[in-house]
Symmetry: C2
Subunit: 347 residues, 2 copies
Amino acid sequence: MTTMKEIAEQTGVSVSTVSLVLNNRDAGRVKPRIAARVRETAQRLGYTSNPLARSLRTGKTRILGFISEEIATTPYAGGIILGAQDAASALGYMLLTVNTDGATNEDDEIATLKRYGVDGFMYAKMSNRYADVPDSLGDYPLVLVDATDRAGQFPSIEPDEFRIAYDATARLIGAGCERIAYVGCSEPMIAQDGRLEGYRRALEDAGRDYDDRLVANVLNNGPALRDVSDLFDRACPDGFFCFNDARAWYVYECAARRGLTIGKDVSVVGVDNHRVFAETFYPQLTTVELPHYEMGYWATCKLVSMIEQRDLHDLALPRTTAPLPPLDAPIPAKIHCTLIEKESVRG
Amino acid sequence: MTTMKEIAEQTGVSVSTVSLVLNNRDAGRVKPRIAARVRETAQRLGYTSNPLARSLRTGKTRILGFISEEIATTPYAGGIILGAQDAASALGYMLLTVNTDGATNEDDEIATLKRYGVDGFMYAKMSNRYADVPDSLGDYPLVLVDATDRAGQFPSIEPDEFRIAYDATARLIGAGCERIAYVGCSEPMIAQDGRLEGYRRALEDAGRDYDDRLVANVLNNGPALRDVSDLFDRACPDGFFCFNDARAWYVYECAARRGLTIGKDVSVVGVDNHRVFAETFYPQLTTVELPHYEMGYWATCKLVSMIEQRDLHDLALPRTTAPLPPLDAPIPAKIHCTLIEKESVRG
DNA sequence: CTGAAAGCGCTAACAC
DNA sequence: GTGTTAGCGCTTTCAG
């Protein structure tokens, strides 16, 4: 690793001059000719800055702490982290990712991240819910991902749950379904509340009555299969909007047991259906892919914008081949899905 | 953040003394009484070391670089990372995780990790295969995870593929299956080669002939379903060993279309079957859970042992509630699965 | 315009 | 036994 000192020696200038030039603070301070020579040697020697040494003076490490509680329990955590990493990489940051199982070790992990000098934190949940931000995070720049701060103190990046459900239900209506069911989640959370409301509103806007006999909110466990089975028996739905892939699987299973074919006898729109299913077994299936990657990406941009006091939308410099959809605009999923940004109250 | 300087001032000693004490290098160098007072103020002020400042002198950051190529494309990446993080945390390290999509940005990401001063690297694949280690990693401590270095230069932590298949097949034999099929992967890789061999050997050890009409090696795509379907038709298997969950799903689907019940008409042992399936729909199913968490955990221990020149098995200090299985010994899965450690040739 | 000097928090020779 | 000193790589006054 070449250092500024080496560049200074080889160019015949002082370290301070090198520092000025290489940080682009040389306008009107260093002679262009000298600056050029410095840059040239830096180039030649393949200089890259040592962010750790820099941080000792500046107090900024360009490291971001990413806190997630269920990295291992869902297949979708990866998407968020990937997006966050790409954005961080494009913006010259690194991600220090930690996992907290419940709240037991959370404060420890946060303390460790602080020791490593992170400039800010992302606090990610794997399904949109209200979250209590640990006190220890209070004095740092912080963005919530797929969650909302219950206290309204911190900004967040989350999917537009209402619209997901509204669009999904509208599509089922458009497909000619008469009895559209919603298989939701019985835990209260933003994702569930927003989607139930979107489902209801889409029905009402189409001049139909909301009928709670068509709704089954279940957990992801044994009794769920029976509950969904009951839903089939009591309401004979011909269309299903499913909260997530696990819920959709109950529907597939119940349909299979009744000899009903997905895409022919019953229509299904699910959120985050596992690709193997959607593509291989049920090509008729309509899926809404939650914008995990985009959430991670935008959350990182947001966080960096807070840290550097820059405008959020100046920061979107995707390095990925596919263009990143703007916040609050349709993103490329099989059904439009919108990302929303919630500002903090105090913001 | 309190510094050594503050501790020194408050205790009335010099910074060097504080440093000696707090690094436990005070034996016979600092008076016990003084050492005790230093420790006491450190405690009182809640001192935690600044690893970045330390690294400037020592050249060691206690940061590990974790390189993975498909963090987002498989639900299992999380398990490996989680295990790696837990081990790192227990050993006083942090993980800097980067994702490389193919080889395009790999060298960039590696360079960045080096700039951040990582002490060593883990290079993880998401299914056991031969890997070409990038040259840029050559001069660092390195452990491969779920992969083997093609050049045999670097150590690796991987599952015992042969034994997975051997045990799975033996279980099917024990369950009374007469015509046991293997639904494998048509890409050549360690996982596939080892499992096919384990399957074959288990049959032979039971005095049966290997019959390639009972084997269908497929990709995870459209034609796969037809190939598995053909397997059903040509060989009428009553037992299946499946390479992974995607392969198992083809079997479920084919069985369902023929009115066959899993666990009654056909027995299935699959690797990494998705939990929702295994537990909710097919409780009769036997699954082999790959030890993802353990791989990440042991790989980290191995890497740290190389960095610190300590014995690997002194390092296993699991912080998790469940005890971590030793290397090369049965681990708690529904079928025993063994982890093996491959030493580097030069090691 | 450029360089010398101080210092971020810490470690490690080397004096005393 | 303990303190002084120098220095890791970098930024940032402040002289000149």
